[in-house]
Subunit: 336 residues, 2 copies
């Protein structure tokens, strides 16, 4: 496996975004061995800097002449930016971890959740992809069950926080809510529709078959990460007025029966997952419990009374952490 | 059929609650033929009055001596209040429409959604039940399809507004949100958990099998309303920070194939349902579209790629109107 040798010369592309900022925090908190850290952002941030470990790092804009002498490039950018710059860096033998969808389904690019398919990392050829946040959170909860009894079909409805649409979407939910409380008008900019006290079907591209990209990613990335092209996933993705952490109502059909007690037992000992419930208080994971937490929380596992070999479970995860920044840093740590 | 003869002597029990107030509005707006209207509320409202048609109606508290000379009693109260007073009124040959769960599953009580099973109304023996709001909204969208090809199984995840938990819950969401924006502490009272920018599994009673009452109502009431004891329903009910209107992600398996185009055609001509979507703008029904609307809105009907004979659809309805007050008034109108 092509490895990183510490201390590492890092470039963070998309440093000012919500995932970029979280990555800076994790690099510091987890004492990642850094030799040099360079931060890139869009033209809007020209001549600005960003704080890391008490030091102001100047923000650079991308250009070929600047992309040299980098061991690890972490991309937290839109798909288009990743597509444009990553092949160039890979040819220079820079290892890249990409958070966008640009290379996730490329058969030459491993799509990694370390708790699930770390072995695939050995096959990387400089480019490594980190999965979609909804897929990551769902698979963290389902993989320990799937290892015990294979999953046949997943039916999922999501309750996705606005932060999945970026920093500006989070600020917009706050401003829009303030406006509603003050009975003032507010025109959404970061999100396509009013977010305050409202919800809407996920705003990724709608395809001819009626599915949005986010829903198709949950299918395609699940198949790739579990190395199972037959697993079936039907998702409905919804944006809710929550700031941070995605929730999911999962209905999962296995090839054989699995009882809730066994599912609890498997999830209680699984890494990165926390069973979090108090049935006496009718209390299960909520977004405010999970915001800022590394673990994906789950609870209220029950037998689906309507269909054989099927369980319902409720899962909540911080999509900026395990859904993006944390997963990226975990991959980087495994490359050391 | 035992009928009401206009003008009608009405008693509204639970007049100050969120459904009671909406019923007063509908009685006025729809020119229901009223001879006398008496309004009942809890002891908290003693010596207060409520406005109806420009007139102040004194609020009375329930007692046997007051429950005479009433043609129609409309209950918008908790189950316990309905259970206590309705049998007494029925013995006096007062027709009762009850919004609580107290009599819904009683085999001698018709459970009516006029667009679906109006014929059952003829069998009433003074007591008539109006269904659970989530069941009503779901069945309004599914009945036109079920008539064409029978439904085998419904898999549903709900996104329920706080107003389903009453007027105080709505006020609490506003106050709690204001507190979060001002970075102040707020202790929930009407709802069991913090509602601002958060969500939680439905707060009805949790049963030993892991289902809450709201989820079991969606199963049991569906079977009764569709007169089909075999239909299977698996629900996950979630309370979201929306003021009014419940949304639902439905995944519905039919006994035979039904294409999305046919489903659209059936729903476009069904009473009480509105197909509401703009695929070019990726825009489907949202709670803020539907709050205050009589019709249940639906859209984004698509073929489930993961399972045969199955459609996904997205439904949003004002649970105070079609989910409660409007359905009640429609039943009363059919009794005239």
């Amino acid at each position: 496996m092509i490895l990183l040798y510490p201390p590492v010369k890092i470039a963070l592309i998309g440093a000012t975004g919500i995932v970029g900022r979280e990555i800076l925090g994790l690099l510091e908190k987890r004492h990642f061995p850094i030799k040099t850290l360079r931060c890139f952002a869009s033209l809007d941030s020209k001549d600005k800097s960003i704080l890391f470990s008490g030091e102001n790092i100047p923000l650079e804009t991308l250009s070929k002449d600047k992309l040299h002498n980098i061991d690890l490039a972490i991309f937290c950018t839109k798909k288009e930016v990743s597509s444009k710059w990553i092949p160039y860096l890979a040819r220079q033998k820079t290892i890249i971890i990409d958070n966008s969808a640009a290379f996730r389904l490329d058969p030459h690019v491993p799509l990694i959740i370390p708790e699930i398919n770390l072995a695939e990392l050995a096959n990387h050829n400089y480019i490594i992809a980190s999965p979609n946040c909804s897929a990551s959170i769902m698979l963290m909860a389902l993989f320990p069950l799937h290892q015990y009894i294979p999953i046949q079909r997943i039916q999922v409805a999501t309750y996705q926080a606005v932060s999945g649409a970026g920093f500006h979407a989070m600020q917009e939910l706050i401003s829009a809510t303030q406006a509603v409380l003050e009975k003032k008008a507010y025109t959404p900019k970061a999100l396509p529709f009013p977010s305050a006290f409202n919800l809407f079907l996920h705003n990724s591209t709608l395809n001819a078959d009626g599915y949005v990209d986010e829903e198709l990613k949950m299918l395609q990335e699940t198949r790739k990460i579990l190395s199972n092209p037959h697993i079936r996933v039907n998702a409905t993705c919804v944006r809710v007025p929550v700031l941070r952490a995605h929730s999911q109502a999962l209905n999962v059909t296995f090839t054989q029966e699995i009882c809730p007690e066994k599912a609890y037992e498997l999830l209680e000992k699984a890494p990165g997952i926390k069973v979090h419930e108090d049935r006496l208080k009718n209390r299960f994971p909520m977004p405010i419990d999970v915001a800022g937490q590394n673990d994906v929380y789950c609870g209220r596992i029950r037998k689906d009374l309507s269909y054989a070999n099927t369980l319902d479970l409720w899962v909540v995860g911080d999509q900026i952490l395990k859904g993006a920044a944390l997963n990226t840093i975990q991959i980087a740590e495994h490359l050391l």
